[in-house]
Symmetry: C3
Subunit: 209 residues, 3 copies
C-alpha cells in the first residue's frame, strides 16, 4: 500500500481509508447484533478484505496488513477503545464526513491496486479489475460475512464504475509517459471526485431489464 | 485451462462453458435485483470462481483468467452487450440448451481441474477433489455472494458425484497408461454424459436422515 | 499441523479436533436440509477451513490436508459411513463430550496456527491473529456457506478470546526461552481450560452499545 515512500500525507490518507472501512464494518456488525469479537473481526474484514484478496490473487506476500503491522495494531486498539462508545460515535461523525473519507479511500485503494497489479506484470484489463477489486471487496466481504447481498452490487450507485474509470486513467497515462507519482495522485483524485460528484447529484446506474 | 494446445474445439467448449457459468450468474443476480455492476461481477464469479479457487489452493499463477485475458475481456464485453436484453434472452435460450452446455462445461472444467492438480503433484484423492471443486465452486461462490445456500448442496441432483466419478476415471486410466489426450476427452465426455443421463431420468441423491 | 513428530497423542487429538469440526458441519448442513453432497462438503469446510485460510494467508503449501491426505480420506470415508446414522448419532454423542472435544481442538488448532505463523516469520501480533483465525474460521466459513451470520461472532461466548489469550501466552513463553514442546502443550492446554471454564460458568462477552 506504500504509494509514495516517506510522504506522510499518503500514510494519513491510508490510515483514514482503513478507519473508514473498519467503521463501516463496525456499523454493519452492530446492526446484526454481533458481540465484540464479531464487531472487531468484521471491522478487520471490511478494512483489509479488498487488499487481502488482491494480494492473494497476485500471490503477493507479505500481505499489506502484515507488512504494515502498525495499521493492524492501530485498528485493533482503536476498535477496543471505540466499541463502548459506538452508539454516540454515529451521532458525532456526520454522514458528509464519512462519504468524503470513503471517497478518498476508494481512490487511494483502487489506484494502489492497479499500481501493484501492474508491478506484478498483470495485463491492462486485469490490472484495472484488480484496482476495482481492491477498492470494493472489503465491503463485499463485510456484507457476505454479515449475511447480506453486497450493498455495492445492489444499491445502484456507480461506486465500482468510478474506480474502474480511474484505474483506466492510471493505465492510459502510463502509455503517454506521465510520471508515476503524478499519475497516482491524479487518478486517485479523479476517482474520489467522481465518487463525490455522483453522490452529490445522486446519479444511479440501471438494473438489467 | 489449456487442455490440448492448438485444438480450437477445446477453446470453443471452454468459452461455451465460461459463458454458461456467467449466464447462471446473470440470472441469479437479476433475480436478486442487483444493479449492472453486481450482475457483471456475479457473472465473473460464477464463470471463473471454481478455477480461481483451484489455482489458489494449488498456488498456481497466473490464474487461468489472467493467462487467458481474452476470456475475461470477452465475458466483460458480452455482459455489457447482453445486459439490456436479459429479459428476452431467457426466452430465446431453451432450458435444454443450457443443460447441455452446462454438462459440457462440468466435464471440461472438472477434468481440467484434476489434470492440473496432478501436474502440480497432488496425490490421487486430492486431485479428484480439485476436479470437483473446479467443476462446482463457481456455482457455490455465486450462491454465497447472492446470499443463498448453494444450490449444488441442496437440490439433490448428483452434479458433484458425476464430476467425482469422471475425475477418478481420469486418474485410473492414467494407471493403465492410457494416453493423456484420450484420457482427457474420455473422462470429460463421461462426466457430461452422466450429467445428462441423471438429468434425463431425474435421478436424485438422498438427504442424511 | 504436525506439532510434535512421532508423538501419537498429537495425531489422536488432531484427528479428534478435525472430526469435531466436521461433526459441527454435518449438524449445520443437515439443519439446512442439504443433500449428502452438501453435508460432506460442509463437513470438510468446517474441519479444514481455518487451517486452509491460514495456509493461504501465509502462502504455505502443500496445504495441511494435502500434506496429511490420510485425514482427508478418513473424513470422507467416515462421512459416507456416518451419514445414514446422523439422526441417531446426535443422541449417542452427549453435549458434554462435544464441548470437551471442541475445547481440545480449539487449543490445538490455535497453537498450531500461531506456531506456524512464527515459523513463517510473522511478527507477534500477526502470529497471534493467525492462531485465532486457525481456531475459529472453520466455523465461520461453515456458517457463511450455510447462509448464517457466523455463530462465533454473535453468541457472546468468549471462544476467540480464549484462543487469543493462549496464542499470546505461547508467544510470550518464547521470549523467556521456554522450550518449544512445553510451550505448545502448555498454551494449548490453557486455551482448552479457559474454554471449558467459560463454558462451565457460562461467561459472556458484551455487545457494543
Amino acid at each position: 500500500m506504500k504509494l509514495v515512500p516517506h510522504v506522510s500525507l499518503v500514510t494519513v490518507i491510508e490510515v483514514v481509508a482503513i478507519m473508514v472501512g473498519a467503521f463501516s464494518g463496525f456499523v454493519e456488525a452492530r446492526r446484526k447484533r454481533m458481540d465484540i469479537v464479531g464487531v472487531i473481526i468484521v471491522a478487520f474484514i471490511a478494512a483489509f478484505g479488498g487488499g487481502t484478496l488482491r494480494d492473494i490473487l497476485l500471490d503477493k506476500r507479505p500481505l499489506f496488513w502484515v507488512e504494515h503491522q502498525e495499521y493492524t495494531i492501530l485498528l485493533f486498539v482503536l476498535a477496543l477503545t471505540v466499541a463502548p462508545f459506538m452508539k454516540h460515535l454515529r451521532h458525532i461523525v456526520s454522514e458528509r464526513l464519512i462519504v468524503w473519507a470513503d471517497a478518498l479511500g476508494l481512490g487511494l485503494f483502487a489506484v494502489a491496486g492497479v499500481s501493484q497489479a501492474q508491478a506484478a506484470g498483470m495485463p491492462m484489463f486485469i490490472a484495472a479489475m484488480m484496482g476495482v477489486i481492491t477498492g470494493i471487496f472489503g465491503g463485499v466481504l463485510r456484507d457476505i460475512v454479515c449475511n447480506e447481498v453486497p450493498m455495492v452490487f445492489r444499491d445502484g450507485k456507480p461506486y465500482a464504475i468510478c474506480a474502474f474509470v480511474g484505474c483506466w486513467m492510471y493505465i492510459l497515462l502510463q502509455q503517454v509517459d506521465v510520471p508515476e507519482d503524478f499519475r497516482l495522485w491524479l487518478s486517485a483524485a479523479t476517482i474520489s471526485m467522481l465518487r463525490l460528484l455522483t453522490w452529490k447529484f445522486d446519479l444511479r446506474i440501471g438494473r438489467p431489464s
